[in-house]
């Protein structure tokens, strides 16, 4: 996929502080684009702009037509009152997909979450690492074209990191993947880096 996200003269301020000023750039698909920078440099905001989750003060962000977005981010929570399986089914259903028990099991395996043991456990009883795995399983379940990953392996053990890295690498050929991070291991899997100044 050679489609791209295009930032056209984008500016955004929070109060008096300009986070982005007249930014024009292209984010091409088929690669993992890392977004790095010091705390407060606007990494998460950059991802939100790229996914049109927030609007810029001026300029425009252009996305490929009819492309679906999915995200893993600390700010995007899942439903504590639903079980892992119910969360997966709910978000997949929002994108028109019906997950079978086999598919749920397979998604769990891909992120290292045993759905036979934890499928009927409410998300409120999950550790932060398990929640992160579940969020990633949701991302995998919806077949999105654009992935917005904000510290996707935070709180994960080595096994979890390996699995998530493998999934991101395997998916990059036909997606636009943006990965906001300050973690060296996450930076290493990126093909291109955008470093945001503070």
């Amino acid at each position: 996929m050679t489609e791209k996200i295009f930032f056209d003269d984008v500016s955004l301020s929070f109060g008096q502080r300009a986070i982005f000023k007249n930014v024009t750039l292209e984010l091409r698909g088929g690669q993992i684009i890392g977004v790095t920078g010091a705390n407060g440099s606007g990494k998460s905001t950059f991802l939100k702009l790229a996914g049109k989750i927030i609007r810029p003060d001026s300029g425009a962000v252009e996305l490929p037509a009819e492309k679906k977005i999915a995200a893993v981010s600390p700010e995007m929570k899942i439903y504590d009152g639903l079980t892992a399986e119910e969360n997966l089914k709910f978000f997949a259903r929002l994108r028109g997909k019906i997950l079978t028990a086999e598919k749920i099991f397979e998604l769990g395996n891909r992120v290292g979450l045993n759905m036979k043991n934890f499928g009927s456990t409410r998300a409120e009883n999950f550790s932060t690492g398990m929640l992160q795995r579940l969020k990633f399983a949701i991302l995998l379940s919806v077949d999105a074209d654009i992935w917005l990953l904000d510290e996707p392996t935070a709180n994960l053990d080595d096994d979890g990191r390996k699995k998530i890295f493998a999934e991101i690498q395997a998916a990059k050929s036909d997606k636009i993947i943006l990965l906001a991070t300050n973690d060296n291991a996450e930076v290493e899997i990126c093909d291109e880096i955008i470093c945001l100044p503070l």
Partner: protein, 222 residues
Amino acid sequence: MTKLFACRCEQIAAIVRKDFIVGLRRKASFAAMMMFALTAVASLSLSTGGAPIDPKILAAILWVVIFFAASAGISSTFDDEAQAGTLPTLKLYADAQAILFGKMFGVFASLTALTIFIVPIFLVLFDVAVEGGLLLSTTILLGVIGLSAAGTLTAALTTSATVKGGLFPILLFPVTLPIFLPAIKLTEFAFTGAASDSSLLVVMILFDAILVTATSILYDYL
């Protein structure tokens, strides 16, 4: 177009189902709504001590109870999601109109359950003999539709406000007043058995349609 409509219907159904499951497990807002209605009706009934009350006043009492009980329950429609941090996720994965109508159907179901629960209790405690059962049911249904549309939009508007509790009924009241005035009059007709004015029902239907349409249009700007 058909595919988009089908997709939205699927999303709406998924959101209603999710809210129902979470609501059943949490119970908080639904219980608050029911308890407010029960407490208000029981205390008003006890304070009158069985003295006869003008049907006009009875009709007004019924709608005041429904309004404030609804306020207690539906004000948190979006706020619960915002507090839990799930609203950004929901907005990312679902179409905005599907979220709105999913929430609106959920509110409608809650208010329908509320009226099914409280109206018979009200009629028994105030010893009201209903002369026009069909008219009362139709009036309540139309009132609940209007209240659901206005309540859902108001709940969305007040999500980012810092003083939601007080703001919600203040914003909701003027929007729903054109529904309540004919609803109170029609309820009075249903209690007394007097010949009802059908133009009042038409007013309620028209205002329901306006509220649902306006809510749908305005929600995209939030």
